[in-house]
Amino acid sequence: MKKAKQTAAPAAVMGRKTLKRRLVSNWQLYAMLLIPLAVTIIYKYVPMYGIQIAFRDYKASRGMFGSEWVGLEWFRRFFSSPNCIRMIKNTVLLSLYSLLWSFPIPIILALMINQLRFHRFKRVVQTVLYAPHFISIMVVCGMIRIFLSPSGGLINLLMGTNIDFLTEASAFRTIYIASGIWQDAGWGMIVYMATLSNIDTTQYEAAKIDGASVFQRIRHIDIPELIPTIVLMLIMSAGNLMNVGFEKVWLLQTDLNKATSDVIAVYVYQQGIENAKYSYSTAVGLFNTVVNIILLIIVNKICSKMSDDVSFV
C-alpha cells in the first residue's frame, strides 16, 4: 500500500494529462486484451451470472434469466434426496484422505531427491517421476482396470489371488488415492524442488563444516525454507477439498462400489448432462462450490495467523 502511494505521488504532480496520455499510448496493449477479455466474459463470467438458475425453474423457452424464481426449492430437494448424506460424506472423505496421503509425499520426495549428489542420476529420477503426469486419466484408468482385473490382472497375479477390487466398496478409496499418488506425486514435487534450488549453497557448506549430518541439514536448512511454500500449497489444496476429480471417479465407478464412490461431482454430471435437470444440477454444484469457498477462507485465516509472510487471495 505504502509503495503504491509513493509511486502514485509523482504521477499526480504531473497532472491528469499523464493518465490520459498513458491510456492512449497503450492502446495497442488494450487491443491485445480484447479477444481474451471477450472470451473470458462470455465463457467464464456469463456462466457465473447464470448460476442463478439454481434458484429458478429453468425452462429453455424462457432462458437462463427469465425462468420462474423458485428460491431454495432445489437445495431442499437435494438435502432430502436419499443419497445426499452419503454423497457429501464420500466427497469429503475421499478428498480428505487424498490430501492426507498425497500432500506430504511430494515434499518428502523433493527433500530426498534434492540430496542426490549424482547429477545425471538425479535428472533421470526427475524425468521418470514426471512421466505419469503426462498420461491421460483415461489411460491411467484403463491401466487400473486391467491391473486390478480378477482374472489375470497384474495385482492378482502378484498376490496369487483373484479379487475383483473394483467391485469392493472398501477398496475404492485406496485405489483412487494410490493411483493419484502414482500419477501426480512426482509432478507435485516440482514446486518444492524449485524452492529448494533457491537455497544458498554456502549454507550447506557451513553446516557440513560444523559437522551436521544429512538429516540435520534437511531439518535445519531445507524444511524451514520450504515452510512458506508448504503453507501456500496447503491453502490451495484446501480450497480444492470438495473438488474431487470427476473424471477418475466416474471412470472407476461400478454399481458395486457406489457405497464409497458416489460423489457430488458425478451426481452433478448425471443430473445435469445425462438427465438434463439443469436447475437441480446447478444447485447441487453451487452447494459444492460454497462449501469449498468456506473451507478456503477458514484455512486461509488459520494459515495467515500461523505465518505472517504468506497470504493468499
Binding site: 491485445m32 479477444i35 465463457y43 489375470g152 533457491n198 549453497t201 452433478v268 462450490t289
Partner: protein, 306 residues
C-alpha cells in the same frame, strides 16, 4: 545446479562415513521409486507385444512372451481409432496455437507495470481460476452460442489458461530487459512491433513450456468432447479408448475384421487394450523431456511470485 553437485562431491572425500551411507540409502530409495513409477508402464509395453494368454497367465513380468505385433496392426486397422487419432492431432494442434496465443495476448499487456488498470485486469482474469459457473451454466452458454458439435467448444470455454498466463507474465517481468523494450519504443517501434519482434523471440523457452503444457492438456482431454461433441466421428482418441478400456467392448469395425470366431476376437480385444494405451500415451511421453528444464525454471518463477 552443477556447482552444487561438484562442490559436494569434492567434500564427500572428507566428510566420512555418514554421508556415504546416506548416499547409498538415498540411491537405493530412489531406484525403488523409479521401479514403482516405471514398472506399470513397462508392463503395459511388454504386454502390448505379447500373447494375451501369456499375459493373463503371468508369464510377462519381465519380458514379452509369444511376441506379436497384432495389437498394433489391429489398432491402426480400426477405423474409429484412426479417426480418433487424427481428431486428437487436429484438436491438439489448433487448441495449442489458440491457447498459446491467448496466453501471450493476455500476459504481455499485464506485464507492463505502466498500464493503467493493470491490477483490475489481472484480478479479473485470476478470479476465473478459483470460481466458475459450474458444469451446467457453462454448458448452457456453450449451447446458446451455437458451439455444440463444433471443435471450438473444446477451446473457447477454457478461456485463458490463467495459471500458465501468470507464469508467462512473470517471465516477461523478470527475464526480458526493460531497456530493450524502451530502446525499441524510442526508436519508434509500436507496442505491437516490440511485442512481435523482441518479446516473442526472447521468450522462446517459456513458449516451449506453454506449447507442451497446452499440447498435453488437449491431447489427454476427453471430458469436454464427451459433453460438447455428440457426433462419434468427431471424438478424440481418449474418448474412443473409453469404449475399449472402460466399457470393454469391441468396436464394430474390429469385429468385422476378425474371422477366427469369438475366442480370437476376445484375444484381440485384450491385446488392443494394451497397444492402444501405448499408442495414446507415447507421443506426450516423448515430448516432455525436451522442455523439462524449462518448466522446472518456469515453476520457479511461478513459485516465487505466486
Amino acid at each position: 545446479m552443477k556447482a552444487i553437485a561438484k562442490t559436494s562431491r569434492n567434500n564427500g572425500r572428507t566428510t566420512g562415513i555418514s554421508d556415504r551411507t546416506s548416499d547409498i540409502v538415498l540411491v537405493v530409495f530412489c531406484i525403488a521409486i523409479l521401479l514403482v513409477i516405471a514398472y506399470p508402464l513397462y508392463y503395459v509395453l511388454i504386454a502390448s507385444v505379447s500373447n494375451p494368454y501369456d499375459v493373463y497367465a503371468g508369464k510377462t513380468f519381465f519380458l514379452p512372451s509369444g511376441f506379436t505385433l497384432d495389437g498394433y496392426k489391429a489398432v491402426f486397422a480400426d477405423s474409429s481409432i484412426v479417426t480418433g487419432y487424427l481428431n486428437t492431432i487436429k484438436y491438439t494442434v489448433i487448441g495449442t496455437v489458440f491457447s498459446v496465443v491467448m496466453i501471450y495476448l493476455t500476459a504481455y499487456p499485464l506485464s507492463n507495470r505502466e498500464l493503467p488498470g493493470r491490477k483490475f485486469l489481472s484480478i479479473f482474469f485470476i478470479i476465473t481460476m478459483y470460481f466458475g459457473g459450474g458444469l451446467v451454466p457453462t454448458y448452457l452458454i456453450v449451447k446458446s452460442t451455437g458451439l455444440i458439435g463444433s471443435m471450438w467448444s473444446l477451446f473457447l470455454p477454457g478461456g485463458v489458461a490463467v495459471g500458465n498466463m501468470i507464469i508467462v507474465r512473470n517471465f516477461f517481468e523478470n527475464s526480458i530487459p526493460k531497456e530493450m523494450i524502451e530502446a525499441a519504443e524510442i526508436d519508434g517501434a509500436s507496442k505491437w512491433t516490440t511485442f512481435i519482434r523482441i518479446v516473442v523471440p526472447l521468450s522462446r523457452s517459456i513458449m516451449a513450456v506453454m506449447v507442451v503444457f497446452s499440447m498435453v492438456a488437449y491431447w489427454n482431454d476427453w471430458f469436454t468432447a464427451m459433453i460438447y461433441l455428440p457426433d462419434p466421428e468427431s471424438h478424440p482418441l481418449p474418448l474412443i479408448l473409453r469404449n475399449i478400456l472402460i466399457k470393454s467392448s469391441a468396436s464394430a469395425s474390429q469385429a468385422s475384421t476378425i474371422s477366427g470366431g469369438y475366442a480370437e476376437l476376445n484375444k484381440l480385444t485384450e491385446l488392443i487394450k494394451f497397444s492402444s494405451m501405448i499408442v495414446a500415451a507415447v507421443p506426450m511421453l516423448i515430448i516432455y523431456p525436451f522442455v523439462q528444464k524449462y518448466f522446472e525454471k518456469g515453476f520457479m518463477a511461478g513459485a516465487v511470485k505466486g
